[in-house]
């Protein structure tokens, strides 16, 4: 649609600018808050322009003990925990979904469709719904306070399985037949043909799943008691209620800022593949 009407241009820009302001203002406030000292942040009105304490807050948050007067782990440790958990969830989900989609699309076995629908039905059972039995299982297996406990219960994924199934269905049958004539067995076909062909979809899914894993709140809260295993997302909430003192907004906001960075980095780095993966249809 190509139109050239000045009034319309002004209006569209206005709408876009309003949208950006709505989205960006909280992030700006977070940034501003992380550049002032604790005292300034308790005074009204809250500042709208950056202060001078950025590096001080930065080093205290990232390397120091975070909130003064508490015994929490340093934020770098939490970032590491979150990163490990998010990576394990994202990569684990991708690996399992690829294999199960491969089985469902390319192999004929008894009750194939039943299994497919069983996987599909688990869409209705996110962690929050099955949280008690899952906790019980994880506790019995002795996986509390471990990376395994943080990630394994979240790894099975109906969404990703379904998506890879759709991707595989778009790959023409001749590709498989051609590979068979070339002498490629099922695993060879999987590695040499299917994985490279779903590369962009894997990347797109990785972005979504990484952020999903990174944003986990309830599950880590439940199964980690050790401060060394705290993830960054849950720590933000804990900082708010820490030790019966008024919230140290500068430190909390700095933590929030740091928590935002890795997902942003992942999205920016994989943006091209991400868009390709969601829009590309021809194989």
């Amino acid at each position: 649609m190509v139109e050239n009407r000045p009034v319309l241009n002004v209006i569209t820009h206005l709408v876009l600018i309003i949208g950006i302001v709505i989205v960006a203002l909280p992030i700006w406030i977070t940034f501003v808050a992380s550049t002032h000292d604790a005292v300034r942040m308790t005074q009204a009105p809250i500042p709208m322009l950056p202060g001078t304490h950025f590096w001080e807050n930065f080093s205290q948050t990232l390397l120091g003990s975070g909130l003064s007067g508490t015994e929490t782990a340093p934020v770098w440790r939490m970032l590491l925990n979150s990163l490990t958990m998010a990576l394990m969830i994202a990569l684990g989900k991708i690996a399992i979904s690829l294999i199960s989609a491969f089985a469902i699309v390319y192999f004929k076995f008894p009750f194939r469709m039943l299994f497919f629908w069983l996987i599909f039905v688990t869409l209705m059972l996110p962690v929050e719904v099955r949280i008690l039995p899952t906790f019980e299982v994880v506790a019995d297996l002795g996986m509390l306070n471990s990376y395994w406990g943080l990630s394994i219960p979240l790894i099975a994924s109906a969404t990703a399985t379904f998506m890879f199934r759709q991707v595989f269905l778009t790959i023409p049958d001749e590709m498989l037949e051609s590979a068979r004539i070339d002498g490629a067995g099922p695993l060879r076909f999987f590695w040499d043909i299917l994985i490279p062909l779903s590369r962009t979809n894997i990347a797109a899914l990785f972005v979504i799943l990484f952020i999903y894993g990174w944003n986990q709140y309830l599950w880590p809260l439940l199964i980690t008691t050790d401060t060394d295993m705290t993830t960054i997302v849950m720590s933000i909430k804990q900082m708010l209620e820490a030790a019966e003192q008024s919230p140290q907004w500068n430190i909390i906001m700095m933590t929030a800022l740091l928590a935002m960075l890795p997902p942003v980095f992942v999205v920016v780095a994989m943006q091209k593949l991400f868009v390709q993966g969601l829009t590309e249809t021809d194989k």
């Binding site: 590709m175 068979r180 004539i181 070339d182 002498g183 490629a184 040499d192 062909l197």
Partner: protein
């Protein structure tokens, strides 16, 4: 190099039989074209030879080995698919080398064979490109190259030219034929295009509804079609069919016209005359009411109806010709150009 023998071959999906007792002997180095309308089972037949479809009953031999139970990779065949089925993420070189790599052939040998095939197919400059950077004709060549490097006993082609434009199709058709003659590899080629079939095949297998209608050289099929189906399928424009009654060598058409030299048949028959075998003769017995004339330059196609009936007829005349719609023109069949078929079974009646 090998011969192929199909013995009493049947394919059924559940209770539906799609191929009925196909028999065929293909000798070493022969180029066989399997031709028929869509849904006649020609691709199924090819895929059974390739090992991509199971055999319900009967046997397929390549050389003197029964291959019914062998995996496609173990049958020593190569197949060119309609959509080429090139691996989109591999370069032309990798595409051609993939099958050899799996067979654990040494790197030097692979490189030698790929380059040799690339030279034959004039693909040298494109070896490092991805399939999507190639034109339709080039992709087609890569698919051929993938078959050649394997050095197989049998080539299988599944309508390899149907995705190309008309001009390229004619060109590739010639190239495929030359290549096959040069390599001398036994080939089975499936197509629905009768011109392609006529020009390519040493012999043609005409399939209809899962039955082999006729298996012979293009000229045999043209001169002595075994059934009305083959007669109508081979040759362009298609043969004219006129219901007639024959007695004592004279055929009487529906409108009362009488034709001589109708052979030994007796009773109700279907009379076949090819459009190019009708010669203009004002006193001729076959009288056609003209509806439309198509001028093709080298010849003219006259569409009309047998006078006094609703039977559609096409007549092909050399050179230019014009006739107003509604005029009636007379034609006489060329000597020996009448084909007689049984009125019910459609089987050929030898004169």
């Amino acid at each position: 190099m090998a011969s192929i023998t199909l013995k009493d071959l049947v394919k059924a999906y559940g209770d539906t039989e799609v191929l009925h007792h196909v028999e065929g002997e293909i000798s070493d180095g022969e180029f066989i074209v399997v031709v028929g309308p869509s849904g006649c089972g020609k691709s199924t037949l090819l895929r059974m030879v390739a090992g991509l479809e199971t055999v319900t009953s009967g046997t397929i031999c390549i050389g003197d080995k029964v291959v019914n139970q062998l995996e496609p990779a173990d049958r020593d065949i190569a197949m060119v698919f309609q959509n080429y089925a090139l691996y989109p993420h591999m370069s032309v070189r990798e595409n051609m080398a993939y099958g050899l790599k799996i067979r654990k052939i040494s790197k030097d040998e692979i490189a030698r064979r790929v380059e040799e095939a690339a030279d034959i197919l004039e693909l040298r400059p494109y070896l490092e490109r991805k399939p999507r950077q190639l034109s339709g004709g080039q992709r087609q060549r890569v698919a051929m190259g993938r078959a050649i490097v394997r050095n197989p006993q049998v080539f299988l082609f599944d309508e390899p030219l149907s995705n190309l434009d008309a001009k390229l199709r004619v060109q590739m058709r010639l190239e495929i034929r030359k290549l096959q003659q040069r390599l001398g590899v036994t080939s089975i080629y499936v197509t629905h295009d009768q011109v392609e079939a006529m020009t390519l095949g040493d012999r043609l297998m005409v399939l209809n509804g899962g039955y082999v209608e006729q298996f012979g050289t293009p000229i045999e099929l043209y001169d002595r079609p075994a059934t009305t189906f083959v007669a109508g399928f081979i040759g362009s424009p298609a043969m004219n069919f006129l219901p007639a009654t024959v007695s004592a060598g004279m055929a009487t058409l529906g409108n009362g016209a009488r034709l001589a030299n109708a052979g030994a048949a007796n009773g109700a028959v279907t009379l076949g005359i090819r459009p190019e075998h009708l010669l203009q003769d004002d006193a001729g017995p076959v009288r056609v009411t003209v509806e439309l004339v198509e001028q093709l330059g080298a010849n003219s196609l006259l569409h009309g109806k047998l006078e006094g009936t609703d039977i559609e007829m096409v007549v092909s005349q050399p050179g230019h010709m014009s006739a107003a719609a509604g005029t009636v023109m007379g034609f006489v069949p060329a000597n020996g150009a009448l084909h007689l078929f049984h009125a019910e079974t459609g089987k050929r009646i030898e004169p």
